[in-house]
């Protein structure tokens, strides 16, 4: 039983990490950036490629290869995130596109990105690993956690903590929150909203690559994971409260735990039903989610 909770928290941690990025973008530009899942997976593929390059040709260690790959691909994908806003979404918004047409456009982008990944990296699954040997998890309180999971937990906690600090302590952080609250007002007060949106897209894409690469440790990489991830992220962000950072954290964890308990008691084939049942219930009972007023 406790093991199921542990599994839920670890998966939930990853969902939370991605949902934070997703909510950040939503609060800045007010629409669901569906292609966000594919951006993260693209970044994870980059991490895989860099790690393979370092490990096989440069003879570097798996872990150093992974960390270096993570850093490089997060920055590169962060740039990509900015370009996506600047050349794809902003012209649409300037053209007077409504929220609904922005969602439809971003779904189109998701399909394009997913198939580009399929073309470039091929359809077969790729694996990122940190050690040659599959090591058995460490036992404590009748639950076992593997090395990867511990790393995921640590990185999730650290990035959530650093992110909260960044958001509330630094100037840019407050600017992002101001734009999130009310972009017109922020503009009036002199916040350069355009620059803030760039930073938001950079950070969000950075986080999504981080989380997608971590997930790849557990479930390897396939081009179709983008859609799967974004559906989970939407559920988590609605539960937590669309646009709120703390909501993203709680929403992600709740989704992870709910899915795992659903799988445990009803069988894993009902896992998605539990997740989307939760989405429907929250949209009806509390559409603004847990943390929004």
């Amino acid at each position: 039983m406790f093991q199921v909770l542990v599994n839920g928290i670890i998966v939930g941690g990853i969902y939370a990490l991605i949902t934070i990025g997703f909510n950040l973008i939503y609060s800045a530009v007010r629409f669901y950036h569906l292609a966000y899942g594919a951006v993260g997976i693209l970044g994870a593929y980059l991490t895989y490629q860099i790690q393979k390059f370092i490990f096989e040709t440069q003879g570097g260690g798996l872990i150093t290869g992974f960390l270096l790959g993570l850093l490089i691909s997060s920055i590169v994908t962060g740039m990509l995130g900015i370009l996506i806003w600047k050349f794809l979404y902003r012209p649409l918004r300037k053209n007077g596109a409504s929220n609904v047409s922005m969602i439809v456009a971003s779904f189109g982008l998701l399909i394009i990105l997913q198939n580009l990944i399929g073309l470039i990296f091929g359809q077969s699954a790729k694996t990122i690993r940190l050690s040659e040997v599959t090591t058995q998890g460490y036992e404590f309180l009748s639950a076992s956690i593997t090395k990867n999971q511990i790393l995921i937990l640590i990185v999730t906690l650290v990035s959530v903590f650093v992110f909260e600090l960044f958001l509330h302590r630094t100037k840019i952080g407050t600017a992002i929150r101001a734009v999130g609250q009310n972009s017109q007002l922020a503009a009036v007060v002199g916040v350069k909203t355009e620059k803030v949106i760039y930073i938001t897209f950079f950070i969000a894409s950075f986080l999504s690559v981080l989380a997608s690469s971590l997930i790849a440790l557990e479930i390897s990489l396939k081009p179709t994971y983008g859609l799967m991830l974004i559906l989970k992220v939407i559920v988590a962000s609605i539960i937590g409260g669309i646009g709120s950072m703390r909501g993203a954290l709680v929403g992600g964890l709740m989704l992870g735990v709910a899915e795992n308990f659903g799988a445990y008691y009803f069988g894993s084939q009902w896992q998605d039903t539990v997740a989307f049942g939760l989405l429907v219930i929250f949209l009806l009972v509390r559409p603004q989610g847990l943390f929004k007023k």
Binding site: V4, V11, T134, Q136, G137, M228, Y264, Q269
Partner: protein, 373 residues
């Protein structure tokens, strides 16, 4: 009123585009008849979850064709997207427009079952190396052949191996998984053994730790993974080892191949596989896998289906040489053939099912080695 004029122009262009495309369709048909090249069809999952195995099939056909040196034969590859409507369209196009007499393919039973009425009506031979669902034996019809053995043979072998042990079954919630699972349960019941755990997971599931937790609590001695996706097989076994489940692992035919070993890596050690055709003891198989790796710079996602598809192409070539390119003649010829293929001696019974029997193999330091029962 600009709005209306603009609308009429757009309407007109749209209609001309559609008409042009449709006519385009017909004109290529006329062109085909003039060339005397023999046209074979292939319909399989080139996108979607089974894309990697579909690509294996396609590459195996291309390898066999180049190896045979035949220039008078051309294979038209169509993607079934693992979906009924696309599969039936692909088959209809091949039968109706390309006038093929024989189609290789049919992977996901969605596309297969949607193609069967077209095959039977068009009286074209359908030769599959991927669909193993036992239900096709009855429904296939006289034009349906397959050299991949029906699952009821595999379940027989597996049932004998794991009878009266504490068994945990983890199966994928798709046509292959559920058909195999139900068949296996029936066979196990004959040996009056009932599984201690019976978990089903949706296609595309990636986190199996919670299912495996239930398997752990069921104190099973044997874990049988029933899925035709190499990634799912790999993840289940890897996560089971991470959870410290000490039990014998059994998998099905999609275990042999790079995609599974990449995902499971060293966790694959000691895993039993009930599978067909990846018998590495036969050096023709090794030569083919090596040829595949040299040509495509990566190992096949599944050795079994690559070998079966390779055999299939050679069987079709043999049939055409023997009786000419006519569906009726090929159909009768296939009933009489006993081909010495990489997957073993292949002959077809009256339902078109193949005589090939699955072997029991075991992963020993990265290699699949046959195990004597």
């Amino acid at each position: 009123m600009l709005m209306n004029k603009q609308k009429h122009i757009l309407l007109a262009t749209m209609l001309t585009v559609v008409v042009a495309l449709v006519l385009g369709g017909c004109s290529t048909k006329v062109a085909n008849l003039s060339q005397e090249k023999i046209k074979l069809g292939y319909v399989g999952p080139l996108t979607g979850d089974l894309a990697s195995i579909g690509n294996d099939e396609k590459r195996a056909i291309q390898l066999a064709l180049t190896a045979s040196g035949r220039t008078d034969i051309e294979v038209i590859f169509e993607d079934s997207h693992c979906n009924g409507q696309a599969g039936s369209n692909a088959a209809q196009k091949l039968v109706n427009v390309d006038q093929v007499q024989l189609i290789m393919g049919a992977g996901c039973s969605d596309a297969t079952l949607a193609m069967l009425p077209i095959i039977q009506q068009g009286q074209v031979v359908l030769f599959s190396s991927l669909s193993t669902s036992p239900e096709l034996t009855k429904v296939g019809g006289e034009y349906f052949f397959r050299n991949a053995p029906s699952d009821d043979k595999a379940t027989e072998v597996l049932a004998k191996l794991i009878k009266n042990k504490k068994i945990a079954l983890v199966s994928e919630n798709n046509d292959f998984g559920q058909a195999f699972l139900n068949d296996l349960k029936v066979k196990l019941a004959e040996f009056d053994t009932t599984p201690v755990a019976d978990e089903i997971f949706n296609t595309g599931t990636t986190d199996y730790k919670t299912i495996l937790q239930k398997v752990k609590e069921s104190k099973a001695e044997v874990l049988a993974v029933i899925s035709n996706s190499p990634v799912s097989n790999g993840l289940v076994i890897k996560q089971a080892k991470e959870l410290g489940l000490e039990m014998a692992y059994y998998g099905t035919d999609s275990i042999a191949g790079s995609e599974f070993s990449d995902t499971a890596q060293d966790a694959a050690e000691g895993v039993y596989a009930i599978l067909v055709a990846a018998n590495t003891a036969d050096d023709r198989v090794n030569k083919l896998l090596q040829l595949y790796e040299n040509t495509y710079l990566e190992g096949p996602a599944s050795d079994a289906y690559t070998v079966l598809s390779y055999d299939r192409m050679n069987i079709v070539l043999k049939a055409i040489d023997a009786v000419g390119y006519d569906a009726e003649a090929i159909r009768n010829y296939l009933h009489t053939i006993n081909y010495d293929g990489l997957a073993g001696y292949t002959s077809f019974d009256e339902n078109g099912d193949s005589s090939i029997l699955p072997l029991v193999l075991r992963f020993e330091d990265g290699e699949l080695v046959p195990v004597q029962q």
